[in-house]
């Protein structure tokens, strides 16, 4: 099993979610996050004083999927979250040992 963690633009959440639905991914977790990549944010101006906004708002989507479809999921996220501009985000793939459903105690209920 793999945990696929995608940091994407906030306005791309719906596109990614819809694409994952079409792929049959059943559950996901979305978190508001802040961060920066290589560009280290941008400059803003308030009442004539410039200041840097180094941590930009992003959304993080986490899904846990079987090894078999992991590559498809990554490809789908990349395709649906891409604009081609700087700041599109990152996808991380992590191995995980087990998952449990809290209601039943059932193991690996994917």
């Amino acid at each position: 099993m793999k945990l696929i963690k995608s940091i994407i633009r906030p306005n791309k959440v719906d596109d990614v979610k819809e694409a994952l639905d079409n792929l049959g991914v059943s559950g996901l977790t979305v978190t508001e996050v802040r961060g920066h990549g290589k560009q280290k944010g941008h400059t803003a101006i308030y009442r004539g004083k410039e200041y840097s906004v180094s941590l930009l708002p992003k959304m993080q989507i986490e899904v846990v999927v079987s090894d078999a479809i992991a590559d498809d999921v990554v490809r789908t996220v990349v395709q649906s979250a891409r604009t081609g501009e700087i700041g599109d985000g990152r996808v991380f793939v992590l191995p995980i040992d087990n998952t449990y459903r809290i209601r039943t105690g059932e193991k690996d209920p994917l």
Binding site: A44, I45, Y46, R47, G48, K49
Partner: protein, 560 residues
Amino acid sequence: MHDIFRTRSSRTISRTVWLVLLICITFSFGGALAAQQADPAGIATGDKTNAVDAGGNAFVVAEPTDKADPDYAAKKKAFDEYQAQAAKEPLAVKLADSVGHVRIATNFGWTLNTGYLVLFMQAGFALLTCGLVRKKNAAHLMMLNFAAYVFAFLAYYVCGYAFQFGAVAINAAPAGLGGTPTLNHFLIGSGQWGFLGGKGFFLSGPGYDAGSNVLTLFEVVFMETAGYIIVGSICERINFWGFLLCEVFVGALLYPIFGCWVWGGGWMSQLGATMNLGHGYVDFAGSSVVHAVGGFCAMALAIVLGPRLGKYGPDGKPRAFPAHNIVFVVTGTFILLFGWMGFNPGSTLAATDLRIGVIAINTNLAAVAGAATSIVLWYFMFGKPDISMGCNGMLAGLVAITAPCAFVGPNAAVIIGIIAGAIVCFGVLFNERVLKVDDPCGAVSVHGYCGWFGAVALGIFADGTYGAGWNGIGPASYLGKAGQGVTGLLHGDTSQFLTQLGGATLCAIYAFAFTFVVFKVVNAVRPLRVSKEAEIEGLDLPEFGMLAYPESGDEVSAAV
């Protein structure tokens, strides 16, 4: 932590407060024994003597008493004719009683309702100032705004109103409200040299009067405006007890004293009669009396407190603390604009004064001209228009038109708005970069500088179409013209301009120096500023134990 009731100095303070209360009660009951009877039910207020035509001519002709008056014979003749007519037509006299009563009732309704509009401005100030600060201090800002209304109101009730209007009937009786004849004693000074009113403490005795209470409601919300202005400069670093002291100071002393000089029939308003200076010092709705007093008081407090931590870098350059909610800022500004429709037109204290139409449109014109100027100016200077400066510009226009709104035409109102919009931009930069006064919401620039300018602008642009007989000057004719009102430099009255220039400057110095001296001493006895740790953490938790946005992730609660 800052429990005022547990310290020795506070026990001394409370003893002093009780002593002052006792003195005030004595004065108020002394006043109750005066010849003029108060009219709490409003039944005796408004009769045939209040029936006046559009030109201000009374229905009732008063019997002339001064036989040395050169016009005595003519006046006596008019009086005799009136008496003869009245004897022939008793029904007309009865009708005039009704007309007079309805006239006063209309003015009560107008003054109260415009007062309620001004009251609503407090909500505007709360949103504006809260939006302009950082999220970590949002609850603190709301508490300051709330407590300002509450405590300053009580201070004004105890003695502020009496100090300001306790002698209003002597030189500046509000005819539209029935004249409030019971408020007729100066505590300090007398005649045309009054310095402090002396009746109406606790609104009892002479202050327990329907007409007087209409005036109280309208004027207390004006005082509150001055009280709110200071919040914009001292926020994000003042502690709560220090703030309460500031509000009581404004409501009981700072505001009422200057208010008495200009609006309570005090010495500044009478300079036309005593020193031959135009119509005396004129401020229609309070550019100086309300806004410059608040603005320069705010400046003194900001200096005493010092800048917020981190406002200036090690190189001395100012840093940005961005507004946390622009939605609040813009909403608050529009509420203020709406409230100002009570502030300026309501200051006629009479719906029967039809100049209210001109005043309303002048007020709006100056507001939009000020906003447009600051938006465009900022666009040129920094490459991007700044909405918070646009809001400051709108308020700057409003503050500046407040004094001259009744005396100028629409074109002058636009020019005044444009100049104010520029003043506020340069004022903000000047305070921040040159004086290094940390003023989070731009209150000093908006209310102080533009308030001063507004009072001076009256002396420049007043066109003489309104205000004949203002402060008792030239009721028949002025500058050789019948019906000529308050006139500025551009229309031929240099003395009015000089009076305005001197008066507005005196106002700035008075408010700044009085506040600075008092709070420099207070600050030396007990610091007005919160601890460094509290300021870094945000004042919400250390001062009040709560956050404005507890579920925003700033603090994870385990109490659910």
